[in-house]
Subunit: 153 residues, 2 copies
């Protein structure tokens, strides 16, 4: 799914994107929010709220559930991360969003997740919604299966 890559670069980019978005949205990337975002970006696999909690507590951060859930909520609201509904887990956002949508390929073998940004999906879904007189505000697509890496082995 992902070629091996300098992953620290991903984190750096995610953080600077976050800084920019916070400027645009007039909100603050506080230490907790930043730390949670970093932890989430440590891999391309979804991470669970209580795993984040555990990692936070091993550093100098408060380790109570509301802390991490608030940070997650903030990051989700600003499209910096997404929730993988089928796993109760969270992953960094890898695309730019014009609409509220999150669309993923989820490998059930290696558990890596890739975000899809094909406008064609949104277009198809939006057309079908309209045909039913339904006005969509938020789209979530989760496709489980086997990624190309895992399929080769």
């Amino acid at each position: 799914m992902w070629q091996r890559h300098q992953h620290s670069q991903c984190i750096k980019e995610a953080l600077s994107k976050a800084e920019q978005i916070c400027i645009d949205h007039q909100c603050r990337l506080t230490p907790i929010r930043k730390k949670v975002l970093e932890l989430i970006w440590k891999s391309h696999k979804p991470i669970k709220a209580y795993d984040l909690l555990a990692q936070l507590s091993s550093e100098d951060f408060i380790e109570k559930p509301p802390t991490v859930y608030r940070a997650l909520e903030f990051l989700i609201d600003n499209n910096l991360i997404h929730r993988i509904e089928s796993q109760n887990a969270y992953i960094g956002c890898n695309t730019d969003h014009e609409t509220l949508d999150s669309k993923f390929l989820i490998c059930d073998q290696c558990n890596e997740v890739e975000e899809l940004s094909e406008p064609k999906i949104n277009k198809t879904l939006s057309e079908i919604s309209k045909k039913q007189g339904f006005i969509p505000s938020l789209v979530n697509v989760e496709i489980h299966g086997t990624c190309s890496q895992c399929a080769q082995h």
Copy 2:
């Protein structure tokens, strides 16, 4: 989303479909499973596991979580119901499935849910998966928004 209709008909159809599927799949629609399916079909809104539990306990059924979760698992495995991931809730299946997919329009106003069966969605998603070398096994689509009924008011 739904025209007013004789809803008892929905339940009847759901039950007879379930009977048939159990014959085909060589499994049993036991009293508990049947009761849970009926309770789910009482509306076109998703229902939560613990709400089912409460309703079961008011009748002569055992009211422990494993009971209802087992019934839900059975019904899901046989494509008789689906789980709405964004709500931790369950709803009756309204379509015939060739593949493992569940696709829904979810009205955030009235909370009614309509299952989509457009093959076009599956086709689009499957094409895009393939382009990435991804082999899909299960698709979940949840579109939140406002249904046509609610949009008129």
